[in-house]
């Protein structure tokens, strides 16, 4: 048993904060480990690192990153890049509806498909995190499961499956976590309507006075 007060389990001097050189080194190391599976990378200066890998190498990436020191599993989830066909529910209900925007514009590191999975891993010793993304094929939305590499991915993949309808090959148990078992549809997909907004528009729009800044929108920003 440990004594009630410990004095030697804590590093007194925190390790240096990560720099961009370290992030470039991580990308080079990942390229050495999984080769051409790295499709695109993005480094936000002094901030963060994104890597997009091919769908086939999704699990291999997790193994490679874990071996490279990224042992802390933060989260895994999905992204739906389709613009919402329903807008934000804040438009004037009496106005002519605008032509819905259907162009899929993926975010950082790009993408070719509507859905992407993304996950975040952290290297606790070097204090650096990485966001990994992969495309999910449109015709059969499924990627390999990470559960064999990170046990914590289990629940995140279940959540992602019920919210986005993305399958995870090799996952032991893709039951719903939140929704009833016979629920139809995938709530976080953009084409799933938020029914409360469909029935009744956002009450906030009713009593909003025209804001003075709308007439001269640049005034506050520039002064």
């Amino acid at each position: 048993m440990a004594p009630l007060s410990d004095s030697d389990t804590t590093q007194e001097e925190p390790a240096a904060l990560p720099g961009d050189g370290l992030r470039e080194g991580i990308v080079d190391d990942l390229r050495r480990r999984i080769g051409d599976a790295v499709i695109d990378t993005h480094i936000a200066p002094n901030d963060d690192l994104w890597v997009r890998v091919s769908t086939d190498a999704w699990r291999q990436t997790a193994e490679a990153l874990k071996a490279a020191g990224f042992t802390f599993f933060s989260f895994l989830s999905g992204l739906d890049w389709l613009p919402s066909p329903y807008g934000k529910g804040e438009e004037d209900p009496t106005a002519e509806p605008e032509e819905p925007d259907t162009e899929i514009r993926p975010g950082v590191t790009g993408g070719d498909t509507r859905f992407q999975v993304f996950a975040r891993l952290v290297d606790i010793d070097r204090h650096v995190g990485i966001t990994v993304k992969a495309d999910v094929p449109d015709d059969a939305p499924a990627v390999d499961s990470w559960t064999t590499v990170f046990a914590g991915a289990n629940w995140h993949e279940r959540e992602c499956h019920e919210m986005f309808g993305i399958g995870f090959n090799g996952h032991p148990d893709l039951r719903n976590m939140y929704l009833p078992g016979d629920f139809e549809g995938f709530p976080l997909r953009k084409d799933f309507p938020l029914l409360s907004r469909m029935i009744k528009p956002w009450p906030g729009i009713v009593d909003v006075e025209p804001m003075p800044a709308q007439d001269e929108p640049e005034e506050d920003a520039s002064s």
């Binding site: 599993f73 989260f75 920003a221």
Partner: protein, 390 residues
Amino acid sequence: MTMMSDRQQLSYIAGQAADARLNVELETEGMTLNIGPQHPATHGTLRIICRLDGEQVVWAEPGCGYMHRGYEKLTEVRTFPQVTTLVNRIDWLGSFANEVPFILAAEKLMDIEAPPRAQMIRTILFELSRIANVSLFLGDLGVQMGAITPVFLAFRDREYVLNLIEGATGGRFHPNFDRIGGLKDDLPKGWIDETRQVMVKLREFCDIIEDLLFGNEIFQSRMRGIGIIPADIAKDYGLSGANLRASGVDYDLRRDQDLPMAWDKADFKVWTHPDGDSFARCWVRLQETRESCRIVEQLLDQIPAGPIMTKVPRIIKVPEGEAWVSTENPLGEMGYYVVSKGDLGPFRVKIRSASFNNISIVPWVLKGVYVPDVITILASLYFILGDIDR
């Protein structure tokens, strides 16, 4: 081995046979025990389904979703300033701490920073919400084992902190005080002196809890060596906060990342514990409360003069981009992955809440423990239902 006589050997074989027969007769089918969703020991509507073999749990699975409010979907129909109202309600015992990472992510996308005074007050309120949250945990800990007194002390002393938060923000539980670019208001007159006095009271509270609970023989025997989580398993499951540090992993997002907050201006110790058992998790939280008091006291002396709001347009449009910001919240790593398309509201917000990961280890850690320990292990993992289901 000494040779047994025939007589001994016969009696030995007969004994073995009798034991075997007894086992066959006493063998029962596994029993399924359902704890919750409404159960005094589950802190809300979490349901735990355990399959038992005698007194031992052989399989356990938490059932979530009784409080799923769909915040990730709701953020997509809100503007950026409106989202803080939602995220306030994720971890309702430390609400202000939920707002900060979201605001920081939006500020990162807009490439602005709050003025130093706002950063300092943010950090102070963040630590106060940690104290309010963890002090209730420390009181509640006793209730799980039948000790009633600590929870009354905790409710009394948490009230001082809630009064402070109310004094500064106007809201006791859901301050909704953080704004993109700064804070809603400055601190009221006399608040700093009052905070100093409350910090003294909270230190006393920590001492009382340490005497009452942590030195208690029953508490130790119920907690020590129970529910051990090794460091590599903890990292695999993404445990964070005190649960991770109690497994000996020295990782604290207040110290280990560069955020526009004021933690680097305070001198504090990140406590870890090598044991990884229930006791360690509770003990780390107790020390953290003390460290939070220290941080608040140090920062109160350093609040700079100046504005509390930077210049932001009145209608906030966040430029296109993606940002991830996480902070060390009372329960662990709380982060927001914000995707903006240049609109008034976010395109997608992934909320990484600490309790979701912290509870995902339950099927692993409950395997093989005895039924009474289920309660203490769950109490020591410390979850808040809103933080699991979101």
